[in-house]
Symmetry: C2
Subunit: 423 residues, 2 copies
């Protein structure tokens, strides 16, 4: 066989093993799954030195290859980060099992009892970049939800990933679960990603990309199976005429500046024209003193000529940096119209004391997450109380917003009868 | 412009109009939607003669073109079928509005109140064959769930579809809703289907095929957007050693023979080897007297040599005809193993008086619908109490089993705060 067909055979075999493991995993007890997660945490703690040694070598190689500091930082593990990874495993183990939940039940006049019960999806592929913690987090969330996982991480951290993955497999083994419930793609051949996106002969049920925009875009464009993901987080804060000024300042600054690089960070501030000239000075002062660059439309530059002009591209920009675009809009309707034009469907917030206006905004904005009087940076599975998240989804189907273990389940329809036949 | 780019421009414009209408439709009252459905029913009743005349001409043309009788029958409307179409509209209008349902709500320790609220999906394309009632049913279910619909029916009934569609548009108009909430592809150019499957420049959120296997397969293979569908309905009945013999006969015969051509019809009977020789004679007699052809594995042919031999293809076959394949299996585990190998994930039933065995089957079989002591022919939205269905889905994500208006909604996450910012 040539290289391509060898790769296809290997990845398809991986898919077949995953599918078989998923068949077992769907019916194991919560206790077994949780025991595997806890055993994995113990194993990681015990293997700490080996994991950190593998990581240190890869960091050294990345530095020598001239990778940027931010990239190297994402790769890096240290004793504290490893402790965090183990704590996440314990947290996920402590969560309620999402499999088997009765989502709905009803009776029919003919006596049939119908229920919808949460079940695992099957086989989930997670494609990620350089963060080694994803190996553990994604594997753990998939295991908790009864899904087999195929993991494909960045080549720069393949040894770190392998070391963590061996601990996860040891956990599965210790708990008597099929080791193939979790598989790491061992080749760094990029064609393996193509094979996974092709669905491995119908054996992959879902692909989740975790990483930068180019990775997500490739997965969205090329996948022949379902994808849960978000490409952009162009999030908006709208400060209404009935906003409390203090909340307006605090929520705007926090939404933008708490961590400007996360997907839930605000990129655009919309100011109601009725109160823009009153509310802008304190907001601008707070943003500037936090180190934020401001770019605005003509109307805000009339109020404050020191704001630099925003171009059309600014309204489409996910800066992921301390830069904020500012537009003046005509009330909540104007805000909704701007958001519907430019939003990526991720997260938007309104600041107002007027409940009616707030409800109009919450109803009319179609994004995955909409907030009233709270920072957009709450767009996070942990903050939602999901325990752990594998990402944020902005598609229309299946799950929207933070994706945790429960969002990685589907359902089946169970019908209990007493001999009914259809007339 | 050449023909292809003209078509692309036209279909993309259709998508843009649908998206705009969907933005309005997502926020209109239940009353307005229901009034539109009822007005459409009235209009259809008033236009009865014109609709039937258009249909009669198309039936004549199809007959002259040598279309098979079954095809012509699917095309045909008559006063009674039109009455059924109007009754379906009234039924859908009388259903609860699925939009705005609170699917879950919880509070966070920081005071944030989170809720998941059902929202429309957006723009749904329905691609169907010769049944004109789909024009009304699919349009009505999409409208009820707040989605804009783009309909593409078979060319043989385009005039009938157009006549029904004009009545639906009149209903929208009478209720003050955007007419573009429902659009019919007016060209019979098959390239229009390709354009729709391509997503119309990101404006289609979901495609639903309704029709034969070749249509569904084309949609599943070519769609670049999400699809809700089922390709096959290879449904199984398993008669356990603890089955009540009368129920076993009644459920087997009904599952196969009530309507052998529907997707929920059973194609394979699995008999527990512990009781196969006792239970087979009455089941076989009832099936034969109902006119069913029987094909079996070696074990059943030892019990009953008059059964003709089944080949490997038989276990993969969706006969849609009065033919049943029969296999002897080793208890519920053997039944589950057979089903996991050959099932299309649609519907499977167990007949047993042993609750423990039943629960094992209901838990271990992963199909979209699993039944205990009831006919597989209950795999139907109406029988589930969904009111009306647009089809049955056997994929893993979003919705499984009968797809009604509620299954055509998604959700958003609403977060209500009092000024919270993230530490």
């Amino acid at each position: 066989m040539d290289g391509a067909s060898t790769l296809t055979a290997e990845t398809n075999a991986m898919g077949a093993r995953a599918k078989k493991a998923a068949g077992v995993l769907a019916h194991v007890s919560s206790d077994k799954k949780n025991a595997a997660l806890r055993a994995a945490a113990k194993k990681i703690a015990a293997q700490k030195d080996e994991i950190l040694r593998a990581n240190a070598q890869e960091i050294e190689a990345a530095k020598q290859a001239g990778k940027p500091d931010a990239f190297v930082d994402r790769m890096a593990l240290d004793p504290s980060r490893l402790k965090g990874i183990c704590a996440a495993l314990e947290d996920i183990a402590a969560q309620e099992d999402p499999v088997g939940r009765v989502l709905a039940e009803w009776d029919r006049p003919n006596g049939l009892k119908i229920s919808r019960v949460a079940t695992p999806i099957g086989v989930i592929a997670v494609i990620y970049e350089s963060r080694p913690n994803v190996t553990v987090d994604a594997g753990a969330i998939c295991l908790k939800s009864g899904n087999a996982a195929i993991l494909r991480g960045g080549s720069e951290t393949i040894e770190t990933n392998r070391a963590l993955y061996e601990c996860m497999r040891a956990g599965l083994c210790a708990s008597g679960l099929p080791e193939d419930a979790l598989q790491l793609v061992q080749t760094t051949d990029r064609a393996a990603v193509g094979a996974i996106l092709g669905g491995l002969d119908g054996q992959i049920d879902l692909v989740i990309p975790r990483g930068g925009k180019s990775l997500v875009k490739r997965v969205q464009d090329d996948a022949r199976v379902a994808v849960l993901s978000h490409l952009d987080g162009i999030c908006h804060v709208y400060v209404d005429r009935n906003a409390d000024p203090e909340k307006a300042v605090a929520i705007t600054v926090n939404s933008k500046m708490r961590r400007p690089g996360v997907c839930g960070a605000a990129e655009t501030l919309l100011l109601d024209k009725a109160t823009a000239s009153d509310l802008w000075p304190p907001i601008a002062a707070a943003l500037r003193s936090a180190g934020c660059e401001l770019r605005g439309d003509a109307a805000i530059r009339v109020i404050d000529p020191s704001v630099s002009p925003a171009s059309e591209e600014d309204w489409h920009a996910e800066y992921l940096a301390p830069i904020l675009s500012v537009a003046v809009v005509d009330g909540v309707e104007g805000a909704v119209a701007h958001i519907e034009t430019y939003s990526s469907g991720h997260t938007e917030a309104i600041v107002t004391e007027n409940i009616e206006t707030a409800e109009r905004f919450l109803s009319q904005v179609g994004s995955a997450i909409v907030l009233h009087n709270a920072s957009t940076q709450y767009a996070d599975g942990g903050e939602f109380g999901l325990g752990a998240e594998i990402g944020i989804a902005t598609g229309k189907l299946h799950a929207r917003g933070p994706v945790g273990a429960a969002e990685l389940t589907t359902y089946k329809n169970i019908v209990r009868g007493t001999g009914q036949v259809r007339p």
